[in-house]
Each structure stands twice: as C-alpha cells, then as structure tokens.
C-alpha cells in the first residue's frame, strides 16, 4: 500500500474525541438527519410506478399479454409495441406489466405473511423474554439451520406452484429470519425508560407492544422488509429458471427472462430477455436503495441482517 494518509482515524473527529459515536450518516447542521436524497425518491418513484402498473394492468391500454400476434413476431420496439414483441408475437411491455403482478404479489405478499407471523412472534419474544423467547428463538435457530432455497424448491415441486401456493410457501419460509430481526430490534427497546414507564403505569402487554414498541420497531422492520422483497423477487426468477414459478404461459418476470434466454433466443433477439431483466434490475436496485437509506436513517446496523 502506498502513502496511507488518513486511514486509521475516525472520519468524524469531533464525535470520536468528544466520546460520541459516529455513524456514517451524518446529521445536517440544523440538527436533523441528512435528507434522504434524490436517488431515494427516484427509487421510491420507480417502485410506485411498478405497483401502479401491476394494479391497473387491466385498465391500462395494453394488449392481452398472452395474445399471440403472428404478424409481428420478434418485432423490435415500435409505436404499436413499445418494447417490441417476443418470438410468439406477444407484446413485451404488456407481458412485463402483467408479469410484475407475480413478482409483487409473491414479494410483498410473502413478506406480509412473514411479518404478520414472524414479526408478531418477534415482538412478543423480544419483549417478554423468558421461556417464550427461549422456545421461539431455539425453534428459529433449528429452522434457519435448514438451507431455505432447498426447502422451497422441494415443497414447490411437490405441492404445487400456483401464485397463492408460491406466496404462502415463500412467506412461511421468511418467518424465521423476520422473527429474528424483529426480536433483536424489540430487545433493544424493551428496557428503555418509556417502556418501563408504561409498564409501571399498568399498561397491558398488548398496549405496550402496539403503542410503545411497534412504532419504534416498525422503521427497522420496514427496511428489512423491503430488502426481503428484493430477495423474493430474485427467488421467483430463480424458480422460473428451474421451471418452478407460476405455470407458463402466465407471464412473470422470471418466466419472461427464462423464455427469452432459452431456444437460442438470446442470440437472435436478446431484447426479449433484456427488457424484463432490466425491469427486475431497476426494481431490485430501487428496493435495495430505499431499504438501505431507511436502514441508515434509522441507524440499524448492517450486521444485524
């Protein structure tokens, strides 16, 4: 290594010298946290756009995603087909917009199931401690010890791969990780003054969990959830490549990429795979950026993931 000028020093001197701990998201001069930044809002905007498209896909002026138009096979982008068509003459934009439904339902639905069960148990275990915590925590350890992708593949392969089943399976698989994250976050709040004070005033467990702990745990949960959604979107794509995502010809991003990558289509018409891959890349980046900025803002350590 050449001249190692400013290495082993605290980046933020004052904090280190004055005994405060610095994180890498500095405060702005007026004492509030640094703004989330343009990129954050762009990314949030893209997520919103994808969600909007998925919800209103039926209403939007798009051709049927499964309509095979043999007069326009492997067509390039045109006014009629904004992103072109695939080898069966299906409109790619329409397939991508309809396909986003699968990614989003599996992603957000799976995480919702995981949060509803894992999050609730995590709050309870983190706050109550004791036997409840020991049992749940031990169970989560045992389950997490099992390779998750293997479990999902086996169950999906033998049980079925409708959208509902996929969402349920992935949701259940996400319970233990979300449980652990929420439990750890809850534990860091469980003995703070405001919780102790609420308990001293005789607040019920239910009230403490919902009114005192949940609002504090929610930001961290949200940022982990977004990153979790990104992981599930990738998972759906992986399953598609193994032929285990929703049955063809239903479009999903994984299915479209898979179709576009098979039968030598990559060499003849790489755009078929490229568009959905790009859409997926942008969505993943957006989810990661939003999740990461929120994490930094709420000061959740990356290691906890």
């Amino acid at each position: 290594m050449p001249e190692i000028a400013p290495a082993a020093t605290p980046e933020r001197p004052s904090a280190a010298v004055l005994g405060r701990r610095a994180d890498d998201q500095p405060e702005s001069p007026n004492g509030t946290r640094r703004k989330l930044g343009l990129l954050f809002w762009l990314c949030l905007g893209f997520i919103a756009l994808v969600v909007f498209g998925a919800i209103f896909a039926n209403v939007l002026p798009l051709p049927n995603p499964n309509l095979q138009n043999y007069s326009a096979v492997d067509a390039g982008p045109s006014l009629h087909h904004l992103l072109g068509t695939d080898d069966l003459g299906r409109d790619l934009l329409s397939r991508i917009v309809f396909g986003s439904r699968v990614s989003l339902v599996v992603g957000f639905g799976g995480i919702a199931i995981g949060l509803a069960i894992g999050g609730t148990l995590g709050l309870l275990a983190g706050y109550k401690g004791g036997a409840v915590d020991t049992v749940l925590n031990g169970a989560s350890f045992v389950i997490l010890a099992f390779p998750p992708l293997l479990a999902i593949i086996v169950v999906v392969a033998f049980w079925g791969r409708s959208l509902g089943k996929l969402t349920l399976i992935i949701g259940i698989a996400s319970i233990p990780s979300l449980f652990r994250v929420i439990r750890a976050t809850t534990m860091s709040y469980a003995n703070r003054e405001f919780v102790v004070a609420a308990r001293a005033m005789g607040a019920s467990t239910r009230r403490i969990l919902l009114r005192e702990l949940l609002p504090n745990v929610a930001p961290a949960a949200l940022s982990f959830a977004l990153i979790g959604v990104a992981l599930i979107v990738v998972l759906e794509g992986s399953l598609a490549f193994l032929g285990l995502s929703v049955a063809l010809p239903t479009p999903s991003w994984g299915n479209i990429i898979y179709e576009g990558a098979s039968n030598n289509l990559l060499q003849t018409d790489p755009l078929i795979a490229l568009w959905p891959a790009l859409a997926m890349f942008l969505l993943l980046t957006s989810l990661n950026v939003v999740g990461d900025r929120l994490r930094a803002r709420f000061d959740v350590r990356e290691g906890a993931l």
Partner: protein, 314 residues
C-alpha cells in the same frame, strides 16, 4: 470454551436430528408414493402392496425411521428407483463440483472484497468509497441467473472464451476443468463480493473509531500495520458469519447456476431428481446437503469464537 463447544455440539446434534426427520418424512408426506413411480403402468393393488412390503413401507413410521437412520449411518442412502444408481455414489460424484464452485467463487470474492473494503474504509465517503459502494450496490441488484445469462452470452457464445455449458472433471483435464468452472463461479461471486465488501467496510469504519485504534496510533505504528493487525480482526465477525451462510448455501447447490451451465453438481442433481420424482435421490441429497449446510455454519461460528476471545469466556 469447552463448555461452549459442548453446548453448540448438542445444538448441532439436535438440528441434525430434526433435519433427518424432515428428510425422512419428505418421502412419506409427499403426494404419490414410490410404488407409483416404480410400477408405472403395471400398477395393481397386489403388486403395490408387495412393493411396499419389499421397501419396508408397510411398517409404522417410527420403526421405518429407525431402519432408515441406521442405514444412513452406515452410508447406505438407498438406490434410485429409476436409475438403480446408489444415492451415496451419486452424491460423491456431484459434491466435488459444488466444492470447486465454492472454492473458486469465494476466493474471487474475498480477493476482491477484502482489499476494496480496506482501502474504502480508510477514507469513508470519499471518491473511492463512494465508487466502490455504488458498484457493489449494482452487483447486489443483479440476480445470479441474469448475470449467468449475460456471462454465457458474452464470454461463451460471442467470443468463445469459455464453454457455455457442461463440465470437465479435474482428473480428465485440469485446464478444461477450470475453464468450465470459471463462468458459473463468476455468476455466483458477484453477490458475495457486494455483501462482503459492505459488511467489512461498515464494520471497519466503526472499528477505526475505537479508542484502541487511537492507542495503536499513539504507539507510532504504521497505518498499514494498524489496519491489518488491529482493525481487521475485530471487524471481520459479521463478514465471517455471512460468508458461512453463503458458503453453506452454495455447497447445498447453486441450483439455478448449475442448471443453466449444465454443471452436474448437487443443485443440478436435486432439480433433475425432483422433476423425475426420484424420491430417494431427493431425500438422500436433501439430507446430505442440509447436514453440510449446518456443519459449515457451525464451523464458521466456531471460527468466530476462536477469533473473538470475548465470546470464549461467555
């Protein structure tokens, strides 16, 4: 330390037991029993009962489990209904491929992530750090299957630098073997690089704010020495934990990448067996793979304990 080790070993045993039960039940709880696969069109109730008796499937489940577990402990995972190949033998053939994939991809990942993080953490939020941060963020958002497709298209199909699919074993031709493993490894390594870089960088930055780093500076030690001998080790724990999970899941089969590159590793074999409804094969592989996953994670936990004397006492 010994008591910690003992405690973790008991945990490990418990987890392995649960895994074995799950793997065992896999065959029994799934729809359609093996007789259907074996008999095919010759399915009659009597033939079926005969098959079930032959396979010992007419006995109560706990008894079946014990028989099965006993066989497994002797290395007998049964034979494929379809190919009549011994499951243990199939695993022994497939596993080295995963091992090779893990080693090559992880060596690349560490070789890139470690120096990047060391350099970036020296000047956090400066140009290099931001550039490396953005680049790894991009890598994080490219799924392995997309990267695999792109790599195959560019490096194999267009410029023929590497074979697009297939596998040559190490003993057949070391050079061809390496060539066949490079693309899959690259596809798998991207995510690891990003995760390792981010974890190590963020832990290094917070370690570099510690008093003991200032103390080391006050001794007049060089920055390089401080970074490598004082800061790296206490900053490496989340990195190692994440690497453990990562290596574990790669060992258990990089399903999609192996499938795409037609590498006959564990992941590929499992997917093939699943689609062929080759239950015993799936069962045996799932068992071995899950145990490998648990053992790797256990080993990494133990490594962290070795590296962090504070936990050893606790």
């Amino acid at each position: 330390m010994l008591s910690y080790l003992a405690k973790r070993l008991v945990q490990l045993a418990a987890v392995v037991f649960v895994i074995s039960v799950l793997a065992f039940l896999l065959v029994h709880l799934l729809p359609g029993d093996p007789s259907v696969t074996i008999l095919g069109p010759f399915d009659t109730p009597t033939a079926r009962a005969e098959i079930l008796r032959q396979l010992g499937l007419d006995k109560p489940l706990p008894q079946q489990y014990l028989t099965w577990a006993g066989n497994v402990l002797h290395g007998n995972l049964g034979r494929s209904f379809l190919t009549k190949q011994s499951v243990a033998h199939a695993i022994a053939e497939a596993f080295p491929i995963d091992l090779e994939l893990v080693i090559v991809s992880q060596v690349i990942a560490f070789a890139l992530a470690l120096p990047l993080a060391l350099v970036a953490s020296r000047r956090p939020n400066r140009a290099f750090d931001r550039l490396a941060g953005t680049a790894t963020f991009g890598l994080l958002s490219i799924p392995a299957f997309i990267l695999a497709v792109i790599l195959a298209l560019v490096l194999a199909v267009e410029i023929h630098a590497f074979p697009a699919t297939g596998f040559t074993s190490l003993t057949t031709s070391p050079v061809q073997n390496l060539r066949s493993i490079v693309l899959p490894s690259l596809a798998l390594t991207a995510g690891s690089i990003a995760v390792y870089f981010r974890l190590l960088r963020s832990d290094l930055i917070s370690t570099l704010q510690e008093d003991y780093i200032t103390m080391a500076r006050s001794k007049g030690l060089s920055d390089r020495y401080i970074l490598l001998r004082h800061a790296l080790r206490p900053s490496s724990f989340s990195l190692l934990a994440s690497a453990g999970i990562n290596i574990g899941s790669l060992l258990t089969g990089a399903f999609v990448v192996e499938y795409l590159f037609q590498l006959p590793g564990i992941g590929y074999q499992i997917v093939e067996s699943i689609s062929a409804r080759d239950y015993l094969m799936v069962q045996g592989m799932a068992l071995v793979v899950a145990v490998a996953y648990v053992v790797v994670n256990f080993a990494v936990d133990f490594l962290i304990v070795l590296l962090d004397p504070r936990i050893r006492r606790a």
